[in-house]
């Protein structure tokens, strides 16, 4: 057990700006070869965390280990093994795509000739060959993002940090970045990415760490997070709208939870903790002569997870004033 070192091991990470405590003791573990998503709303502390891990920022306290090596004490050793694609593109807008990659390659110790070969290879891999000799300021957001990721893997890093890699991208570009991330993962790269998008975390991550106001509020697989909220959501669509009140009564009794009436007049849904109850409830409906056209038992969305964890929706800024009772 002790011999197995995590790729990333963070304990009690704290950081303040003046009196504002931005990180309030973050713990984080990332297994070698896995992808962990750091999920949180704007201002949660994602960028601060990732910049500390990438040696760009010093923490106030806490330990950060990369493959068992202390990042704060030996930043240069870490810099050889990790790479960061920041929230804002770290490329030179005045230079061309090729020149940007060559610049990075040269600074990593490639000869001029090797730098050119490697850059050309990367441009091809990222679908940027045609744009190779164009200034980056003329690139689209998606192209810039891809170039930025390419620049981060000129030497294939053991760990790649991606800070909100798809924020502001159109769906097509987002899909491309996801493809890149999956390919990197397949080749053995350990990835820590931050995102505000629940779908993105759900799609890509082996594990999701939810942070809010500088603290970890949940940590687990997407499935585990959803379970902590309730095992899932039952959705039903009835044939006849007028039967809905009766169906609501029967379901409420059988499931023992509140039933949501959906807007469309024929649908109902409920959060349940035990999937077995659902089938029992369904047979009761059939016995009562209530016909339904559609039934599904699905996991809750991560939006619902976040709502349940924080008492506030991801889209809203307001802090809830309730809670604190438990």
């Amino acid at each position: 057990m002790t011999a197995v070192k995590h790729a990333i091991d963070v304990k009690g990470l704290r950081k303040s700006y003046g009196k504002t405590e931005v990180l309030k003791g973050i713990d984080l573990e990332v297994k070698r070869g896995s992808l962990v998503a750091l999920l949180g709303p704007n201002g949660a502390g994602k960028t601060t965390t990732i910049r500390i891990l990438a040696t760009l920022l010093k923490p106030d306290s806490g330990s950060v280990q990369i493959f068992g090596q202390d990042v704060v004490k030996e930043p240069d050793a870490a810099r050889q093994r990790v790479s960061l694609t920041g929230q804002f593109a770290s490329v030179d807008e005045d230079l061309t795509g090729l020149e940007n990659l060559m610049l990075v390659a040269r600074l990593l110790g490639f000869s001029w000739k090797q730098a050119k070969t490697r850059s050309t290879e990367l441009l091809a891999a990222f679908g940027l060959t045609e744009a190779a000799d164009r200034q980056v300021k003329k690139y689209s957001g998606g192209m810039r993002r891809r170039l930025d990721i390419a620049a981060s893997i000129v030497i294939s890093p053991e760990i790649l940090f991606l800070d909100e890699p798809t924020t502001g991208l159109d769906p097509r570009s987002r899909r491309q970045v996801w493809d890149i991330v999956r390919t990197l993962l397949q080749t053995g790269t350990t990835i820590l990415l931050t995102t505000q998008y629940l779908e993105e975390a759900d799609q890509l991550a082996d594990r999701i760490v939810v942070i809010d106001h500088g603290a970890v509020i949940a940590d687990g697989t997407s499935g585990e997070l959803k379970k902590s909220v309730g095992s899932g959501t039952v959705r039903l669509r009835l044939q006849q709208a007028e039967q809905r009140p009766e169906a609501e009564q029967i379901l409420a009794r059988a499931l023992g939870v509140p039933i949501h009436l959906e807007k469309d007049q024929t649908s109902l849904s409920a959060q349940i903790s035990d999937p077995d109850l659902a089938s029992a409830a369904l047979s009761l409906l059939v016995d009562a002569g209530i016909a339904f056209t559609d039934f599904s038992l699905g996991q809750p969305s991560l939006d619902e997870v976040f709502l349940a964890l924080t008492g506030e929706s991801l889209d809203e800024e307001e802090t809830s004033t309730e809670q604190e009772i438990a």
Partner: protein
């Protein structure tokens, strides 16, 4: 539905996989190699944004013509005589003033994301600055040549000849490199490119005017003479006048090198300290 969807991505999986799997890991570049690379970047920027050469060509033209014809008659009796005295001074002043853009350029760089990229790569840190300053040498040389050529057109005939002019250029480039470290300190201390530019200009004007460039310090009040004699630019001007007229002494040149050493000793470590702590707190 998924089956009929066209392949959305222009990223080629196979190429990408092989590109990512590449395990070539060259060793860190040496300090010189990294600096040369950063200088290459500076030259590329000149190539892609040639507008930035405007200030190094128009500014010297303006300065030379303005001072020669506006003040020449009044200050030295005749324009022809004044040109011999003034051109070496203008030559130094022009280049010295242009060095202040260094702080601005550095500050602009930091404001952009590329700075983070540089900081996260494990190469010799000062290379970013050394390379930038080396790249600036091209701008300085160009500005210096504009002054000399224009000076020649309006009657400047250095007794030191081509050799004298070339040696002057080399001396001024060394000085400009040393002085630049003062501007990089400002570029690192100040919050925005605009404020860097403003403060740099405010420092730069007295620095270039409180010198022996325009008039003999003997005509100045005593306290100002003290300031002028402490100003490193005064020593550079004296040495350059000497070189261009073929009368330079070892003392004159030595004083310039001393000034350079002092500037670098103070400002280079300060720059590096500020640079490595920038954004990391």
């Amino acid at each position: 539905m998924a089956a009929t969807q066209p392949n959305l991505t222009s990223v080629d999986q196979a190429t990408l996989r092989s590109a990512v799997s590449s395990s070539s890991r060259p060793g860190r570049p040496g300090p010189l190699d990294a600096s040369v690379t950063m200088a290459w970047r500076a030259l590329l920027k000149i190539k892609h944004v040639p507008m930035q050469l405007f200030d190094v060509t128009l500014f010297p033209i303006m300065m030379t013509l303005m001072f020669t014809f506006l003040f020449g008659g009044a200050l030295a009796g005749s324009v022809g005589e004044y040109v011999q005295f003034l051109i070496p001074g203008i030559f130094v002043m022009t280049i010295a003033m242009i060095t202040m853009y260094t702080g601005h350029a550095l500050n602009t760089d930091i404001a952009k994301g590329i700075f983070d990229r540089f900081r996260s790569l494990p190469f010799w840190r000062p290379a970013v600055l050394v390379g930038m300053l080396l790249g600036d040498m091209v701008r300085y040389t160009l500005a210096g040549m504009v002054v000399i050529v224009l000076g020649f057109i309006i009657g400047f005939r250095p007794d030191g000849g081509v050799i004298g002019v070339l040696l002057s250029l080399i001396l001024v480039l060394i000085f400009a490199f040393s002085l630049s470290w003062a501007w990089t300190v400002l570029g690192l201390l100040l919050p925005t490119p605009e404020s860097t530019m403003m403060v740099s200009s405010m420092v730069s004007f007295p620095l270039t005017f409180a010198t022996n460039i325009y008039v003999d310090p003997a005509t100045m009040p005593e306290w100002l003479q003290v300031v002028v004699n402490l100003n490193p630019i005064t020593h550079v001007v004296t040495a350059v006048r000497g070189l261009m007229s073929g009368t330079a002494t070892a003392d004159q040149i030595g004083l310039v090198f001393l000034s350079c050493a002092v500037l670098i000793a103070i400002f280079a470590p300060l720059t590096m300290y500020l640079y490595s702590n920038k954004g990391s707190r």
